[in-house]
């Protein structure tokens, strides 16, 4: 009995075992596409405002897994270039990917060695194009970002927003997520009508602390542990492990929901 007769019942071998073309390999199958359909691990708000000498940006260190406060030490502010901080909320895996993209950009630009430095406005433009390109593929990076820094040779304060749809805008005070509702009104009190041009660093910091405090009181996805970056013409002051005080003494006088006396 020949070898072929012996092995026939097992089926014919593929013509080329290294690059199989037999019928059991589906040819020209549509590629499997998986998209970001929803954020999973999420960071909450980012807030930023301009003041007289520069800008201040803050974000807490929490990454939630749904309603579970899952990771307590996530840094959501990222330094890019010499005088820019990017603060990102939304899906954390997408944020980590954006960090890589921004680091690639930083390295690529520094490799030219031509003396030109990446400015906040460049980084914001680039980031917003990345967002928009991905939303056009129906596969967005599920994030909202604030780019803050001092821009150009004049070191002008720069704060701008970019999000998963490619939306962009700038304002003296910008917030993402829940802080749009809770923190923005507080920040606008001190920045509107060009008031930010006379706003001191200390008052700016007090406003940031107030905003974080209000967020911690009323946003179930926030944390009383946060980072603040202050960017001025002198450089970046990056403060981590910050916290704010809270007031609960009044709670002792609260009884029931209307009729209860004690």
């Amino acid at each position: 009995m020949s070898f072929l007769e012996l092995t026939e019942p097992w089926g014919k071998p593929a013509k080329n075992v290294f690059f199989p073309t037999s019928s059991d390999v589906q040819q020209n199958a549509a590629p499997v596409i998986s998209r970001t359909t929803q954020p999973i691990v999420t960071g909450a708000s980012v807030i930023a405002l301009k003041f007289a000498d520069g800008v201040m940006i803050a974000a807490d260190n929490l990454a939630s897994y749904g309603s579970l406060a899952r990771f307590f030490d996530v840094e959501r502010l990222t330094k890019v270039g010499n005088n820019t901080i990017v603060g990102i909320g939304g899906d954390v895996s997408d944020y980590q990917h954006l960090q890589r993209i921004l680091e690639d950009l930083e390295i690529k630009e520094s490799n030219y060695g031509d003396g030109y430095a990446l400015q906040p406005s460049h980084i914001h433009e680039y980031l917003s194009r990345v967002f928009y390109a991905r939303r056009n593929k129906m596969d967005p990076y599920w994030n909202q970002a604030i780019v803050a820094g001092v821009d150009g040779s004049q070191k002008e304060p720069f704060v701008a927003f970019a999000d998963l749809r490619g939306n962009t805008y700038t304002a003296p005070a910008i917030a993402t997520g829940f802080a749009i509702h809770l923190a923005l009104p507080l920040m606008r009190k001190v920045t509107d009508d060009d008031r930010w041009k006379t706003l001191s660093k200390e008052r700016a910091r007090a406003t940031i602390d107030d905003c974080i405090r209000v967020l911690y009181y009323r946003d179930g996805r926030s944390l009383n542990k946060f980072s603040v970056a202050t960017i001025t013409a002198d450089g970046i002051d990056f403060q981590t492990n910050q916290s704010v005080s809270s007031e609960w003494a009044f709670a002792e006088k609260q009884y029931g929901y209307g009729t209860q006396e004690v």
Partner: protein, 254 residues
């Protein structure tokens, strides 16, 4: 052995005694390139390159030939300038790919190996020509400083000091005198300038310019150009030692 292989040097195939003449001819292209040296010292690596100023119309300190790859690697090439640019581009692609896959900066030895393999590929097919450059890879990473030189046939070794281009022989003699185990980066910069000046004799009438970069503890592990003031200090030292006809073994800090 004859250095011309009649009929066997027309493509990338072996001669009867097992040589690849096309790959060997590539060395001849480099031999005329500008002098380039690398020094690995205790705490970092120095790359230095002599650039002949062929015209007054050239902008000083422009047209750099030493490229940065990632943050911590520098690549200097001598020989065919465009081939050098190609090598640097390839190195950047390799560094990116490593970072994408492993999330860390590519180690110096890996970079040298990747580039060595790449250069060697161009000695395998008749449809391509070998690279006409010697490539110096200077890196500083977790394992300390690294210096490699990749030759046109893909061979690469790690070195304490190495030179290529026109003045390579004089430079090599000078490099052999250095004590690499105690040499610090700032002193190595001076020595590098001195060695470049020492090799310059053969074309004394032409103006030249030194391009020098470094990476190591002095630069926080970042590959960057040697600062102007330090470079000028080093060139002044080099001029004193070489043109003043002083003994070359004078102490480094005068």
């Amino acid at each position: 052995m004859s250095s011309i292989g009649t009929g066997y040097d027309l493509g990338l195939f072996f001669s009867p005694d097992g040589r690849l003449f096309q790959a060997e001819y590539a060395y001849k292209a480099v031999e005329n390139g500008s002098t380039c040296i690398g020094i690995k010292c205790q705490d970092g690596v120095i790359l230095a390159l002599e650039k002949i100023v062929i015209s007054k119309l050239l902008k000083p300190r422009a047209n750099p030939r030493i490229g940065s790859v990632g943050r911590h690697i520098g690549i200097a090439t001598t020989g065919f300038i465009p081939d050098g640019k190609h090598i640097v581009k390839r190195a950047r692609d390799e560094a990116n790919s490593w970072r994408d896959n492993y999330g860390s900066a590519v180690p110096g030895p890996v970079m040298a190996d990747r580039l060595g393999n790449y250069v060697q590929l161009f000695t395998c097919y008749s449809s391509v020509r070998p690279f006409g450059v010697m490539s110096f890879v200077a890196a500083y990473d977790d394992l300390g400083p690294h210096l490699y030189m990749i030759e046109p046939n893909g061979v690469y070794w790690g070195y304490n000091g190495i030179s290529a281009g026109k003045g390579r022989q004089i430079a090599r003699n000078e490099l052999e005198k250095l004590d690499f185990s105690t040499l610090k980066m700032k002193d190595a910069v001076k020595e590098a300038a001195r060695i470049i000046y020492a090799t310059h004799d053969e074309e004394h009438n032409k103006e030249h310019e030194i391009e020098m970069t470094w990476v190591g503890e002095e630069t926080n592990g970042i590959h960057t150009a040697v600062p102007d003031d330090l470079l000028q200090e080093a060139e002044a030292y080099a001029r004193r030692t070489v043109e003043g006809g002083e003994d070359e073994d004078v102490p480094m800090n005068e």
